[in-house]
Subunit: 328 residues, 4 copies
């Protein structure tokens, strides 16, 4: 494990990138990054993991009660009705033979709740995934190169839950500001046993327990607090090498921002993103609800499953909502 110079995020990022960059690995034209690791063979293997047929949605609700607070115009979803049952019964809809209907619309940031970061979401010094100039990738028209639609059909494979909260934390939770290093990840894998082995093409789900904590706050009427953007447990910047070496296809957490917050530098903003997305080409999932799945895994000791987490097919999106389904 590297020791970080807290005063020099830019230097540390550059050094890390020099070790882990995947630019060119799948050719100049690649738009799928680490999703290239997720093959048909991997999906076939994953289907074989299903033993009970029980399915788990890993999605938080999408509604006005969500965690967003408007930072950089990231609001919670506004869901409104075009037609309602109350309308229908007053007979104003004008349809024949007694039919009535309801219909609805939504306005929301694509990253307001359970979501995937796409490869166009983050740049490093003006460079997007595979070395492309950011301005040739994402304009006001969206991501014309690596829009989320490029992986809309493939995000389905072997999921592995690493319940770091349970394995390393207290009462199943890591405290805010806890940086999950490679050691913690390997310790969790060891504790969970064989089914938790992580390798090429896997989709890794890291449970920190912060969501469980935040949810208690909501239930207690205290609101979401700093869940969106405040202090949180999360991946250490130093885990970049592990993310690279394991050749995983994607990774998601139960937190707003994937990596530990405050970040591990004196003045920084999501430095691990800056390595993982543009350089590894790695897909990051955020705000996934892993609690129900984690309970089931803890009960029978099986930590891998078939995971289908295909993002909503929004053309040109740099992130997209998803309802991930784990099938055990």
């Amino acid at each position: 494990m590297t020791s970080l110079d807290r005063s020099d995020p830019e230097g540390e990022i550059a050094k890390t990138v020099a070790r882990v960059s995947n630019w060119g690995r799948w050719g100049e034209d690649d738009v799928r990054g680490t999703m290239n690791f997720l093959t048909d063979a991997k999906r076939l293997e994953a289907a074989g993991l299903v033993q009970t047929g029980r399915s788990y949605s890993l999605s938080l609700p999408f509604d006005m009660d969500g965690p967003q607070n408007g930072w950089r115009r990231r609001t919670n979803p506004v869901h409104t009705m075009l037609d309602t049952g109350t309308d229908a019964v007053t007979g104003i809809q004008g349809f024949p033979h007694g039919i009535g209907g309801a219909d609805d619309v939504i306005a929301m940031p694509l990253q307001c709740s359970t979501q995937w970061d796409g490869l166009g979401h983050i740049f490093d010094h003006g460079r997007a995934w595979n070395g492309r100039p950011a301005e040739s990738v994402v304009t006001s028209l969206g991501d014309g190169v690596t829009g989320i639609e490029t992986v809309a059909d493939v995000v389905c494979g072997r999921g592995v839950l690493l319940d770091v909260g349970r394995a390393v934390g207290t009462d199943g939770e890591l405290p805010d500001g806890f940086a999950i290093t490679e050691e913690h990840l390997e310790q969790t894998i060891a504790a969970q046993g064989e089914s938790a082995a992580v390798g090429r093409g896997d989709i890794v789900l890291v449970r920190t327990g912060q969501l469980s904590r935040a949810r208690r706050g909501v239930a207690a009427g205290e609101g979401w607090g700093g869940y969106a953007g405040g202090p949180a447990p999360g991946l250490s910047f130093t885990s970049a090498d592990w993310l690279h070496r394991t050749e995983i296809a994607a990774i998601a957490t139960d937190t707003w921002g994937f990596e530990v917050r405050p970040n591990e530098f004196d003045d920084a903003f999501q430095p691990l993103h800056q390595v993982a997305i543009p350089h590894l080409g790695l897909f990051l999932g955020e705000m996934w609800d892993l609690d129900g799945l984690a309970s089931a895994c803890a009960e029978d000791g099986r930590y891998d499953f078939l995971l289908t987490a295909a993002p909503l097919r929004v053309t040109g999106a740099v992130g997209a909502p998803v309802n991930p389904i784990a099938l055990r």
Copy 2:
């Protein structure tokens, strides 16, 4: 097969409902309708169908080029950026250590592209699924009872493609206005062989071929024409008994409106919806892109697969976008 009185949709609907209603079948409090047929055992069986590990997205794109025309405020999605790569490279984002980002929002009807109708979408004479008064179910606040979130974790099971276009049509397509009856469905099943057998808990995908035709129009610069709301092939009103008897969990088509249009009555609007949703409690999928999957099925003669089609978890939605993944 019943012979329909074209002048009396209300009477025909009432007669059909008398035969096929599922009200009370799963108790007074049920909110999942036919999704109750989709059990863990069914999902386990479905996982066993996977042979190649190849995945297919059955979702159309969500963007401004979609088929909607504004009818009843159903527009195409408007996807806009909160931050872009062009911004990032001008250095205006104010982030440290060279990180830049892009972020986006969307405004769209929940039924603008590939989607599930929820149980609160349609009423019959002021009654919603299971006999509830429509006004106690869907208000301006959304569907407080049968919102799509009630099935967010279960829509995963055995999918069966019935390629009626290929089996019954010409050059793989049914003409607009073609009513698919029970006979056509059974004829298709027979033609496709054993893997196409339909039974309790299955999710049936009916390909008419209209989408292939519409897409040619788009490619030729003619736009979507009447795809959204115009004449279309689709399920016959008379298929209600088959939908009921087979005990399927859900059914989807490659058309805008599921049922044949013009409808089979002199003056009618989606009469099969009026039976299927509030009375059967059946989930209807619309605007699914079945073409890629259909080619694969035709090639190797296997028509069933693991289908994961969990709707976006929008609280209180009467319909929801979905990116369905067929895994063969």
Copy 3:
């Protein structure tokens, strides 16, 4: 002045309504309520008040920094770009001869910032303005009868500023919870002199000073606090008779909710609205920025002016944003 029974808002409302109702005053078909008081003659008189040609916008900004907090899905405006200058300079817009462009969209509640309440905004026991059943007026399709468009061309006339904050308060501000009664209004008029006389067809602007206070909080980095929906100075329920007797066309305040908050009953929600909108047919303006205008009036002692405050012409709106211009 009536003494209120704090435990019986419903009874007090009914008694007040019996005294002040305008139902039928302008015929069965009326859709403009008190705006009928605002005649061409009144507008002509108002134009004669202009002495300096100086104009004042009474609008707060519409942006994400506004006072809304999401209560009942009332968010602040989300303004996003369809095209930008950063895009234009990268040459991606595809326009000829060096032209580039920027374009934008907005999503917002119609009552998120400076606005008029329309006559369809509030009902009393299911009755809208002029006695119409609420369900025949406002459905999911909007207000089909008294939509704000019915007054889009007439809200222009004599404005009178009543700076109650300056006349009655301390340092120009009334404390939160201060109920402005008829006595306070008359005291202010008397203090301000002749130009502050209020009569038929006038548009009255009541400055409480709460906005000045809230703005100091924002400037100090404390945010808007309870400006949207919290305690506030405002019109007393007992002022209903004055609102009726003076025959004013409209009235606006510098607060979120026009009337005093907490309301003057043990358990109540905006009881003066319940009288003023459906029974008086009175147009209420909220979140108007009166500070600049008030300074000018205080300086030269002229409190009336030409006010043009035509709402944005949104068909069927029950409220609408406005940029009111006072011309002195």
Copy 4:
């Protein structure tokens, strides 16, 4: 009048700019362009024009029936309800003492209906108003320099209607493709008489009659046709010198795009915009409904009036909706 080289829009634009540029005219820091011509004295003079007190809204409706067709994501407004009268009467709103309410939201392009172009709307070779680099003015965060809020308080003054349709056209309308030159403008002024004289600080309204024609099409069930972006009468590119010389503060038309379409070059897109907005700093209004006002003017021969047309105060907007009120 200059004769244009149809094959060289870029050259013609450059030559015109050399003659008419206002860069630096009001200092390096100016953000109001020609709105600087509109002084208090001008507004005072305008107030003196009011003779009858009759007010005219020059705004089209904002609703789904508008002229937009989705070009570059410019849709018509989507207005939805947060609460309705149908809801209120079912008693689901949970408010005390019989109060009920309705509330609404809107999602719309800021230039979807009657609107002002702001100074950040158009660039010439990457330069915005006053010579600023476009990328330093308009980013994804909006127009940080010349956002429409900079003129929110001043757009009120002497309006002059030039009814070119009536003066020059047939049956009050100019045909599509008709280029209005300086000669036509002067001919109209002469025909209309003294009250139509145009000078410094005036807001000029040019009626072509195309909207009257489009409206007949809508009434006939034929829709808006090409009103949004198709062929239209409008200002000739050659009128740039007149726009400059007259020192008007702003100009608006009853068409979608202000200038004649098709444009007067072989391959061009809105070349007059490219001169008028970034170089003159001139505010352009589009889709104004001038028909009612024009009838009144034609009747009594008075063509000037007090015009209040303050844009909705959307921070950073490059265009903004407006409900212009002409007071005669």
